[in-house]
């Protein structure tokens, strides 16, 4: 290779030599990453896409004679054909939807709140940061085991509640929907008009159930384990705010709340977007906790699409259906991410090309933020 360049005209003697060397090294350096990502990410996606359009039942190779093209049958089976699978899928979607709708706002608010608290110059602030972050480093398995103990019917939480004179529910064994329980307090019981209509095999009344009491345990657990991580992200955002802004506002007599609302929140908008997006992506993928904790019980109320996709494939051998669920889940996650992008777009923001001066600093940190989701990503 080098020889060929050496024989070329003089103006190509140096440049292509170095670039040729760099190209070879570049591809060599990248090769392991590209090969592994290709074999274990890109190729699997292609294989799964094929399986989701096939009737493969787990025998032999999915690329061999045992699998046949069935078109959209698996997707139709889930979305339009009444039956057990559709019913399971509908319930899983409902459960996870409520999980997302509760976890994402709560964890965002809690982590922002914690970040604001520990962003002050206080003694022992390091201790508090550590305490709030620690749950984030533990494994989902260990935390789930712990929560199974805390929330067992005669466990820690119910003991605490009994000191307060309250009787706790049986938590992970309680399939009642939270909203149903609340409605019941107001004397609203199952109404026939809502029970007769169905969407994805689940009656309208059951769509309105809210998260089951069992699911609420997982919701609390999610907030407990993720708020520390997101607190660190927010902390990074908060420390990026120019303090003179707050001082100017203080001179103008702004209250703490107004400073928070009109300075802090707009300034950390990129972080907010990152946290909400990461939250959405994470909460649509609940798997470990369900696998360890409940396997979808009681009465399917902690079933999630991720777990259903797994159990349809590995336990029921409906691989096509399992793969189809995975792709629908993927579409849902993409949809939510794009929707967040559109909704949190700053209306006052000048488009990238026309941006000038200091505004540039505020807007373009998304990418480095995602990277800095990693703790301590470099000074």
């Amino acid at each position: 290779m080098a020889k060929r360049y050496a024989q070329g005209p003089w103006w190509r003697l140096r440049e292509p030599g170095i670039h040729g060397r760099q190209a070879a090294a570049g591809w060599l350096f990248l090769a392991p990453v590209i090969v592994i990502l290709g074999l274990f990410l890109v190729l699997p996606i292609a294989a799964a896409a094929w399986v989701s359009f096939s009737d493969w039942n787990g025998n032999g190779s999915p690329l061999g004679a045992h699998a046949h093209w069935v078109g959209l049958a698996n997707y139709r089976h889930l979305l339009t054909t009444p039956g057990l699978d559709q019913n399971n899928f509908g319930e899983a979607l409902r459960n996870n939807l409520y999980y997302v709708l509760l976890v994402v706002p709560i964890q965002t608010a809690v982590s922002l709140f914690l970040a604001v608290l520990v962003n002050r110059r206080l003694k022992f602030v390091g201790f508090f940061r550590t305490a709030f972050y620690f749950p984030s480093v533990t494994s989902s398995v260990a935390i789930t085991v712990l929560f199974l103990f805390l929330f067992n019917p005669s466990g820690v939480i119910n003991k605490l509640l009994s000191y307060l004179g309250a009787t706790g529910p049986s938590w992970l064994y309680d399939p009642r929907g939270l909203f149903h329980v609340i409605l019941d307090q107001f004397g609203v019981h199952q109404s026939s008009s809502l029970s007769n209509g169905f969407f994805l095999g689940v009656s309208y009344w059951d769509w309105l159930a809210g998260p089951s009491i069992a699911m609420c345990v997982f919701i609390v657990m999610a907030v407990f384990t993720t708020s520390g991580t997101f607190m660190l992200l927010f902390l990074a955002g908060l420390q990026n705010i120019d303090e003179s802004l707050n001082e100017a506002a203080a001179l103008d007599g702004a209250t703490e709340w107004r400073k928070f609302r009109y300075i802090t929140v707009p300034m950390i908008r990129p972080t907010l977007f990152t946290v909400v997006t990461l939250g959405l992506i994470g909460t649509w993928q609940v798997f470990d906790q369900i696998y360890v904790g409940t396997k979808g019980s009681p009465l399917n109320t902690t079933l999630t699409p991720a777990f259903l996709s797994f159990s349809a494939s590995f336990n029921s051998n409906e691989w096509g259906v399992g793969a189809a669920i995975a792709f629908i889940l993927f579409a849902i996650i993409v949809f939510f991410t794009v929707a967040t992008r559109l909704l949190t777009r700053n209306p006052d923001r000048v488009p990238r090309r026309r941006r000038f001066g200091p505004t540039q600093r505020i807007g373009n940190q998304d990418a480095s933020r995602v990277a800095s989701a990693a703790p301590g990503s470099a000074p």
Binding site: Q22, A23, A25, F29, L30, P32, I34, I36, L37, L39, F40, L41, L117, V118, N119, R121, L122, F128, R129, A131, F132, Y133, F134, S139, S140, V141, A142, V145, F149, V156, F224, G228, L232, L235, A236, L238, Q239, E243, A250, I281, Q285, F287, Y291, V292, A306, S313, W319, A326, F327, L329, F330, I333, S368, A373, A374, P375, G376, S377, A378, P379
Partner: protein, 308 residues
């Protein structure tokens, strides 16, 4: 490198903390000072209460693992085991394959961590520094791959691992985890933040590209390497789903898989809470150690992450 910014003086010169400034202004006003002092007492009480909520579950877990089963069931809240016993730990040792799980987790985690740090930094360096055709496309692909949610890949990965004959082997458990796009991204960003000049002089001196990378750039990249090490270790030690789909024999069970089986409790009688909590406490120790050793770096992510 060591921006060891103590939390007391967090971000000292560049970012004056809010309280100090306004306090000096308010000092003329005695009422404001009193209000502030009251406010800070309330803040502490509040923070302390929150910290208790975050720490208490772990304390309970540790204490309960030293309780007898009847004691743990009857009195889950007490912080003194009565009677105190190490039965749970003995059971883990003799009644379960706990040591095997530890061994498997250690093998997988250490292989994944060291190889991943190396491969990701190699790729990150190529993307940050080497100029070659297709670099942009390669980077775009890696970023796109980063966006695919992991759970969606469970079934696909199983299919491929089986197709390659790696199912139920260490290879199947390790190789797919060796590379992660986010790690490449972190390393690329870091390499771009250090000046090129040193490398250029080495290049003029005739050092090979790999040598420049290995003996000049990598030593400078220690902070990012440590970050990646922490992330990879924590990620693979805590990984569950991938091991579920890549192996089935009991001899390949990792801690996460083993403890998950304990939790679903098909084995033995009774609720076995002390046993389960002992297992989950023990499996938390390595990541906890890592966390406390590198605590300052992790916690100062905030200051460190500001890249302009």
């Amino acid at each position: 490198m060591s921006r060891r910014i103590d939390s007391q003086v967090a971000g000292a010169p560049a970012l004056p903390a809010p309280k100090r400034k306004s306090r000096s202004r308010a000092q003329s006003d005695a009422g404001a000072v009193r209000r502030r002092r009251l406010g800070s007492a309330m803040t502490y009480t509040f923070l302390l209460a929150l910290a208790v909520i975050y720490i208490f579950p772990f304390v309970i877990a540790i204490v309960t693992s030293f309780k007898t089963e009847p004691n743990a069931t009857a009195d889950p809240l007490s912080l003194v085991p009565h009677p105190a016993t190490t039965t749970a730990f003995h059971d883990l040792y003799s009644g379960q394959d706990f040591l095997l799980w530890v061994k498997n987790s250690a093998i997988v985690t250490l292989s994944v961590t060291f190889l991943r740090v190396f491969l990701d930094s190699l790729a990150g360096y190529a993307l940050a520094r080497l100029r070659f055709r297709g670099r942009g496309a390669a980077f775009a692909t890696i970023v796109a791959v980063m966006a695919v949610p992991g759970v969606v890949l469970l079934i696909p990965k199983f299919l491929i691992i089986r197709q390659f004959g790696m199912y139920d082997t260490y290879y199947g458990m390790i190789v797919p985890l060796l590379v992660d796009a986010a790690g490449v991204f972190i390393m690329k960003n870091f390499f771009e933040s250090i000046p090129v000049s040193v490398e250029e002089s080495a290049r003029i001196d005739g050092a090979s590209i790999f040598r420049i990378y290995w003996s000049i750039v990598l030593p400078m990249a220690r902070p990012a390497l440590v970050t990646l090490f922490i992330l990879s270790f924590q990620g693979s030690w805590n990984e569950l789903a991938h091991f579920i789909i890549s192996a089935q024999s009991a001899s390949l069970d990792t801690l996460t898989k083993g403890v998950a089986q304990l939790a679903s409790g098909q084995l033995g009688s009774g609720n076995r809470y002390p046993l389960k909590l002992a297992a989950s406490t023990l499996m938390t120790i390595p990541v906890a150690i890592l966390f406390f050793v590198f605590q300052r770096r992790i916690m100062n992510a905030s200051e460190g992450a500001v890249k302009e």
